[in-house]
């Protein structure tokens, strides 16, 4: 769906013309149109080097930006990453496939269940396992919960960066409700580890569906309030429109994904183009922006949250009964009573626990539409229980590499807004 702006703020600064009447001089970006900076007298041309981070409240984690400034205008910005490099990919080579699941929580820790789902599905693709219907719908619910909570954090922290503090508290209050759900389902608020190869760690508890429906109703109200407060707010729009624009061609060339790509007008969503978990049977729309600036990214993510609510309604309506785990002893532990009574099940249990899930030799790349973009896991297996290579295709790492291009010519405070719009999570950038 194409998003239409309902408010367009002409950025400008007020000067006095010859008759002494106030006149707005429009501010252009990247050389188009007159800039107020050009009208200003030449004050001396030395550039200043400013180091933002790695410890800084506005960098959303340990990102270091080295900025070359001409007054307040950014001439060049060089992001330095790696301050949270935790060696995930190396660790993955020393773990069984099920043991990698807790590692995935810690990468994109704002949307942990999406990471878990992606990993389980990548390994299931390698093994050729077909999961049950109930598991598919539950994984869809998990992915959309992750999408919502990630976008809520994004909205809150972007609000803080732009200067609106209250939405942060609203968003975190809503997140607490989702955390209650996650905790009831998986036992942990944040590091969920909810999938297993071939299924899930546990079925949803009683009352989960009703709680979810209640939360969605309150979420709609909160999103409506945020919409009233922010979307047509002059300051919000004024600080975001026209900032950090990228054309669709540039976005494709830089391998961007997620809201960054869609805000620039490119219609690529992994759920629609490379469907998984029966997403093609769900009725939802993918918001596409037009100008590719920070405001469009805000509109895209806002609309994605509402569309996620729509998917929830359908998922909850179609949730079938049945087992959550595939009935395949190569992947799933047998139920306890079977392991205790049947010799065969006991042997399967033993082999599973001692040796791990044996995955046939081969390689597979599987990607999902995580809230940050196209999250892909590439596994290379040699037939043993530990992968030869586990590669995480990190959407935020690649989105962040577009930051220098987007910020040239803008002001320093715009750089903070652009950085916020990339929606980075350093755990995933640095892995």
């Amino acid at each position: 769906m194409a998003l239409k702006r309902t408010l367009d703020v002409a950025l400008g600064t007020t000067t006095l013309d010859e008759q002494g009447r106030p006149r707005t001089v429009p501010l252009g970006i990247q050389g188009s149109g007159a800039t107020a900076l050009e009208d200003a007298p030449e004050l001396g041309g030395e550039h200043m080097l400013l180091n933002i981070g790695p410890q800084h409240p506005a960098t959303h984690g340990v990102l270091r930006l080295v900025v070359e400034l001409d007054g307040e205008a950014v001439v060049r910005v060089v992001p330095h990453v790696g301050y949270l490099h935790s060696g995930f990919e190396k660790l993955g080579e020393y773990r069984h496939y099920n043991q990698i699941i807790p590692l995935t929580d810690r990468m994109d820790y704002l949307a942990p269940m999406a990471n878990n789902v992606c990993l389980a599905m990548a390994v299931e693709k390698l093994m050729g396992l077909e999961i049950t219907e109930r598991c598919k719908v539950l994984r869809v619910i998990a992915c959309e919960i992750s999408r919502i909570i990630s976008h809520l954090v994004w909205l809150g922290t972007t609000g803080i960066d732009i200067g609106a503090f209250t939405p942060f508290l609203w968003m975190f209050q809503e997140r607490e409700k989702f955390y209650n759900l996650q905790e009831a389902w998986t036992g942990a608020r944040l590091t969920t580890s909810m999938t297993r190869i071939g299924g899930l760690m546990a079925d949803i508890p009683d009352g989960f569906e009703d709680d979810l429906r209640t939360i969605l109703r309150s979420l709609l109200k909160v999103m409506a309030e945020v919409d009233r407060a922010l979307t047509r707010n002059g300051i919000w729009a004024g600080r975001m429109q026209g900032i950090g624009a990228l054309t669709g061609e540039e976005a494709i060339n830089m391998s961007l994904s997620g809201a960054m790509l869609r805000a620039s007008g490119v219609d690529y969503d992994v759920r629609k183009d490379r469907p998984y978990l029966d997403y093609e049977t769900y009725d939802f729309e993918v918001p596409i922006g037009e100008h590719g600036d920070v405001y469009d990214r805000y509109l895209v993510r806002f609309e994605e949250t509402l569309q996620a609510i729509r998917i929830f309604e359908q998922a909850l309506d179609r949730l079938p009964d049945g087992p959550i785990n595939v009935d395949d002893h190569r992947a799933i532990l047998p139920p306890k009573h079977a392991a205790m009574t049947s010799m065969e099940s006991m042997i399967h249990h033993f082999k599973q626990v001692m040796e791990g899930v044996q995955v046939p030799a081969g390689e597979a790349y599987f990607s999902i539409e995580s809230p940050k973009g196209e999250l892909g896991y590439y596994f290379v297996s040699d037939g043993t229980a530990k992968p030869v290579r586990w590669r995480v295709r990190p959407p935020t790492f690649i989105n962040l590499s577009a930051l220098p291009k987007m910020s040239e010519g803008h002001l320093l405070s715009d750089l903070i807004a652009i950085n916020a719009s990339v929606d980075i999570v350093m755990g995933e950038v640095d892995r």
Partner: protein, 206 residues
């Protein structure tokens, strides 16, 4: 960095010019009450624990009840360095520099398993516990710790502060790095970083 004296091994004895009396204990009480109830945290949030810290600071688990509302992102104005999240080696000089920039009195809370001991990341890039880099007062376990856990850690730190006394200068001496550039002796660091638990067995790749 000025005249640095190594802390005198006071072994618990209070070294004081004035003999402790009712006035000094009342003064200690006043100062410690003020310090513990208005700790300004320096949130050195790196990873997932930072999100739980943000949740603790948000409306439901409000840490402003405990006087920690004013997040100080400048170390010059902070009391407590709250390291929330894992610390890779690349970030180690940064946290050391931030710790050095904080004025006395200062304390450090190590939040989470990764900050306390390296957590699940026993590999080439992770500092195995920030206490190899900065001195730590309170360790909060968990991966991530629940907000209640972090609040308990903060309350524990407040209790520790209330037990301090102005008459012991040793606790306020600036602990700098030695001439090697380390905080502890190398064998002590190796001992602290020894793998334990599952890490010992999970080093075979195939």
């Amino acid at each position: 960095m000025g005249v640095i004296t190594k802390p005198e091994p006071s072994a618990g004895r209070v070294v004081s010019q004035v003999s402790p009396n009712w006035l000094t204990t009342r003064l200690d009480f006043l100062v410690n009450w003020a310090r513990s109830n208005s700790m300004w945290p320096m949130p050195f949030g790196t990873a997932c624990c930072a999100i739980e810290f943000m949740a603790t600071a948000a409306s439901r688990y409000d840490i402003s009840r405990f006087g920690m509302e004013r997040m100080s992102f400048s170390p010059r104005q902070a009391d407590v360095l709250l390291c929330a999240g894992r610390l890779p080696f690349k970030l180690a000089p940064v946290i050391r520099r931030i710790y050095d920039q904080m004025p006395q009195p200062k304390w450090v809370i190590s939040m989470g398993a990764c900050a306390s001991s390296g957590g699940i990341f026993d590999n080439y890039s992770m500092v195995q516990g920030i206490d190899t880099v900065v001195p730590v007062d309170v360790y909060v376990p968990g991966c991530p710790p629940r907000p209640e856990g972090l609040l308990y850690g903060i309350l524990l730190l407040q209790k520790k502060i209330r037990g301090e006394t102005l008459a012991d200068p040793a606790i306020r001496i600036e602990q700098t790095l030695d001439e090697r550039g380390l905080r502890l002796a190398p064998d002590r660091i190796d001992e602290l970083s020894e793998p334990f638990g599952n890490s010992i067995h999970q080093t075979r790749s195939a």
